[in-house]
């Protein structure tokens, strides 16, 4: 008996492991630095040489979530002793908390727009991919190329026409406008990725379901969808990451109601001087949803990325 795969020897394994760990460290350092900066005091955050060991404080997070006003000695005395731990942190800097900041709202906007556009993109993308994969669509190749071509330039290249269009349609600074825009940008990628996944599902399964007494739509829903779950999950991650991180359109098209977190975070810098710990805290929290989403779907993601890599 012969094996086509040879077991690597321990030395190669170690070397490979070392390379992977080394690469991981290099890519993770900026991430760790941002997380650490969020817990530093403003002085530590801009110290040179940079401090690695520091006394952690929640000041950055308090500053992120609150608006504060500078208070005189007299005002502080009148206000009485601090009521909460975050009051205390604000007082220590000679400020009083005047109310919550807009970060919460902006973050919620990001969630609504990011997940909303991802969901819409999956619904439309799966339907279109299924049709392209299974039916004789007139001008199929041309249409597929046309869909792909919408991604051949950077989306921001059409920012001005989109801005004008949104203004006329009343979509400026609305959730629905941003959801539609991100869906449109992501759709070409989704249709192409999902078509690949659906192409890999043998058509015999649906035919069996059709004969077993189901309609075309029921066969799609009961037989194709469960098998396409892996592809849909990995495509959804790509779409979410784009919509979540998108900055340029968000700056241009949103300002108040529908502003997402990315254009808001740099705003923090301008409010009370360069408040790097608050910026870092905002960035850290901003990372969490995508991380959770990716971790939840990681089993699918790994399968999705390697899916179809092997020709049968």
């Amino acid at each position: 008996m012969s094996f086509s795969v040879t077991e690597p020897n321990p030395a190669t394994k170690w070397l490979a492991g070392l390379l992977v760990v080394g690469y991981a460290v290099i890519t993770l350092i900026p991430l760790l630095w941002i997380i650490a900066t969020g817990f530093k005091s403003p002085t530590d955050s801009i110290a040179y040489p940079p401090v690695v060991l520091f006394e952690p404080t929640l000041e950055g997070y308090v500053n992120l979530f609150t608006d504060r006003t500078r208070a005189t000695e007299q005002m502080l005395a009148e206000a009485g002793p601090p009521q909460t731990w975050y009051d205390e942190i604000a007082r220590a800097r000679g400020t009083v908390i005047s109310g919550p900041s807009r970060y919460g709202e902006r973050f919620l906007n990001s969630v609504i727009i990011g997940f909303g556009s991802t969901a819409l993109c999956m619904i439309l993308g799966t339907a279109a991919a299924y049709a392209f994969s299974r039916f004789r669509v007139p001008l199929k190749d041309d249409l597929l190329f046309f869909i792909l071509s919408t991604r051949m330039m950077p989306p921001i290249a059409v920012a001005i026409p989109i801005f004008l269009m949104f203004r006329n349609l009343g979509l400026n600074d609305t959730h629905i406008g941003m959801i539609l825009l991100y869906t449109a940008v992501n759709l070409s990628l989704s249709v192409w990725l999902l078509k690949g996944f659906i192409d890999e599902i043998p058509v015999e399964y649906e035919e069996a379901a059709l004969i077993d007494g189901y309609t075309r739509f029921q066969a799609f829903y009961k037989v194709v969808l469960p098998q396409a779950a892996t592809g849909i999950a990995s495509t959804a991650i790509f779409c979410l990451i784009f919509a979540w991180n998108e900055y340029a359109f968000a700056v241009l098209l949103t300002s108040g109601t529908a502003q997402t977190a990315p254009p808001f975070i740099p705003n923090i810098i301008g409010v009370n001087g360069k408040d790097w710990p608050a910026v870092a805290a905002g960035a850290t929290i901003f990372l969490v949803p995508v991380m959770v989403f990716t971790v939840l779907l990681r089993k699918h993601l790994l399968r999705g990325i390697t899916f179809g890599a092997v020709r049968k």
Partner: protein
């Protein structure tokens, strides 16, 4: 159960003519086997009946009802596919329940359990019911897939080489089982294969397809003993019929181009000399490979034959078939 009739069914895929004017009646309660090599149009015929494909011309009737415009679900047919047959995301039990739970059938749960249990018993897969469909061996998968058809009581069962991927033992077991189920239930069955043993053992009728045309339709015996053409003659019989130039032996009729000799049509011990090239003992059959005037022949002989390579044996044709230049039988 119902009669299935095709009249003038024609289908092409692009420039390829898959079925040409096929007319055939599958009688109620019969077991019809479609025989032919790959590309003869066997599977296409099944797909036309099932409604997965639509004929370009011609009519298909099931139980007297015209099927034009009806979806597969509306036709009340069950089909066993050659491969990729089980829903991979479901368990064996869910696979078997799938057709019973369809909006067309909506079987009550107690009835579903009873039927699934019954079919699992027959196909000896009861112990695997809660396994994932992908965790089965090839043979088990195919049995489940046959089971998924058998849980229903459709107008007609369509089977596309259901046994071709199984090992020899299982194949012969299931052959008997399928025949028994069909005979007991009186089901109408349209079955595609290129395995002539399946055709001979199970069929009440055999349809021979050649490049999309139905060249002969009849009982297996009829097709074996009275083939209409050289092509039909070479579909059945093991060893295959020997085809030689007609003028090799005396007595060929006018216009005969070739002579067809099944083993039982070769009389040994009289006639002209031929040389034994090899003797093959297959256990149930002893084959004699002969050379006759530079032409190779295969026939069968007595199991205890003393013949060996290099010997001379006399042979003579007995009631052979003659075929003309186009391959049609000359009677």
């Amino acid at each position: 159960m119902a009669e299935v009739s095709l009249s003038g069914v024609t289908k092409s895929f692009g420039d390829d003519l898959a079925l040409a004017d096929v007319t055939m009646t599958v009688p109620d309660g019969s077991f019809v086997v479609l025989l032919g090599p790959t590309g003869a149009g066997k599977t296409t015929t099944l797909r036309m009946v099932s409604g997965l494909d639509v004929p370009d011309a011609g009519q298909i009737r099931i139980g007297g009802r015209d099927m034009a415009g009806l979806t597969p679900a509306q036709r009340d047919v069950a089909m066993v596919f050659q491969q990729y047959s089980l829903y991979p995301h479901l368990t064996v039990r869910q696979n078997l329940e799938f057709p019973l739970k369809s909006p067309v059938l909506r079987t009550p749960p107690a009835e579903i359990d009873r039927k699934v249990g019954e079919v699992a018993e027959v196909l000896q897969i009861s112990h695997k019911l809660d396994n994932k469909a992908t965790a089965l061996s090839g043979g088990e998968m195919q049995r489940v897939s046959i089971g998924r058809a058998l849980v229903r009581n459709p107008a007609v069962y369509l089977m596309d080489e259901p046994l071709s991927s199984l090992d020899a033992k299982l194949r012969s077991d299931l052959r008997i089982e399928l025949k028994r189920i069909q005979a007991n239930s009186g089901a109408t069955l349209l079955y595609v294969t290129h395995d002539q043993i399946e055709a001979m053992t199970m069929a009440t009728h055999v349809g021979v397809l050649d490049k999309g045309r139905l060249v002969q339709f009849g009982t297996p015996r009829e097709i074996y003993e009275n083939p209409v053409s050289l092509y039909a003659a070479s579909r059945l019989g093991q060893p295959r019929i020997n085809l030689l130039p007609a003028d090799l032996f005396a007595g060929a009729p006018e216009g005969a181009r070739s002579i067809g000799l099944r083993p039982e049509q070769i009389l040994q011990g009289e006639g002209s000399d031929s040389m034994v090239r090899r003797v093959e003992h297959l256990g149930d059959q002893t084959r004699l490979h002969l050379v006759f005037r530079d032409h190779d022949l295969v026939t069968v002989t007595d199991a205890h034959t003393k013949l060996k390579g290099g010997d001379i044996v006399k042979i003579r044709p007995r009631n052979p078939y003659y075929f003309d230049a186009a391959g049609a039988r000359i009677v």
